[in-house]
Symmetry: C2
Subunit: 210 residues, 2 copies
Amino acid sequence: MKKVPVSVVRRLPRYFRYLNELYKQNKLKVSSKELSEQMNVTASQIRQDFNHFGGFGQQGYGYNVPTLNQEMAQILGVNENFTAIVVGIGNLGHAIVNNVNFGKRGVKILGIFDSDPEKIGNLCGKHRITDIQTIEEFCEKSRPDIAVLTLPKSQSREMFERLKRCGIKGFWNFTNAEIRSEKGVAVENVHLADSLMLLTYSLREQNGEE
Amino acid sequence: MKKVPVSVVRRLPRYFRYLNELYKQNKLKVSSKELSEQMNVTASQIRQDFNHFGGFGQQGYGYNVPTLNQEMAQILGVNENFTAIVVGIGNLGHAIVNNVNFGKRGVKILGIFDSDPEKIGNLCGKHRITDIQTIEEFCEKSRPDIAVLTLPKSQSREMFERLKRCGIKGFWNFTNAEIRSEKGVAVENVHLADSLMLLTYSLREQNGEE
């Protein structure tokens, strides 16, 4: 399959969310026009996006919701049974563990690690916080795919190198240290403040129009 | 000015972050090639993006970092002195208040609100948590521009309507309830799990290549 442009890939989770919503509502069919209205993307954009993956459906008949939902889950790796560990468990770590429905995205949390003796042994959700010194041992035994990095920025680069040596192949990085993907290692950097700036951008535009 | 495509706008915070980094390193000039290598975007894409805002610099000479940094800040509304309130202060609220550098994006937090009697009166960062029942009164007096919604999904729609009536023009919505922008009201929905799915997408692609 040809490499799909990043801009298209970035829209896939949104498609998945909407389709999942429709699926839960027991909807069987959806047209690109309906999807378009709900998602605020043009219908032609949706058809173009879907064409990267073979098109999924017949124009005029609309898309079959359960099939499309399943296809989208497949593309996004939701059916792959990936496993994860969470490294660093301050407010942000707690918020991620408790607010993000990992299971719905097919990701299972195997362990949660921190270096703070006051936290080790406590529960976070249903997971017991484990001493970060045992992380190599844990990875050797349990072979997690993903590390969620929510530790302080200053410790993130070292932890990244350490976890790469443990065989971790995917990093969900909340540390504000920009870490780059490399061959065999996928990194998704999250910068919460980026969307704050998109909001101030819109506000400024809005004020300009008044 | 012509409306800038959403895909271009979405790249602006990243440009701002990189330029800010270069600015702090006292760099005076940067070429689109250098920016391109650092940002993993083609040089031609960068030039095209910048052309939406007049181009910013002379090709061949590179861009002036302090000027471009300043222009980008201006475009993103960083210089507008927007003000914000945070509504709902669980782990996620705490994480946002303490981990996002609002000041750096030109946004000042004026107040933090919750309905939980156990939390009201406590400090979050340097802000005292205030009873949500007083939010109308507060808004009338202090006229915040932005509300950061980090309350439970079930309460978010009602709070959105209530805060619109208070004159809030921008919503940074972390509640997983999809709220749409409307005329005069900008909404930025944050779905943390979307980037988890981008990561599992990359992992799946990566596994396929092996």
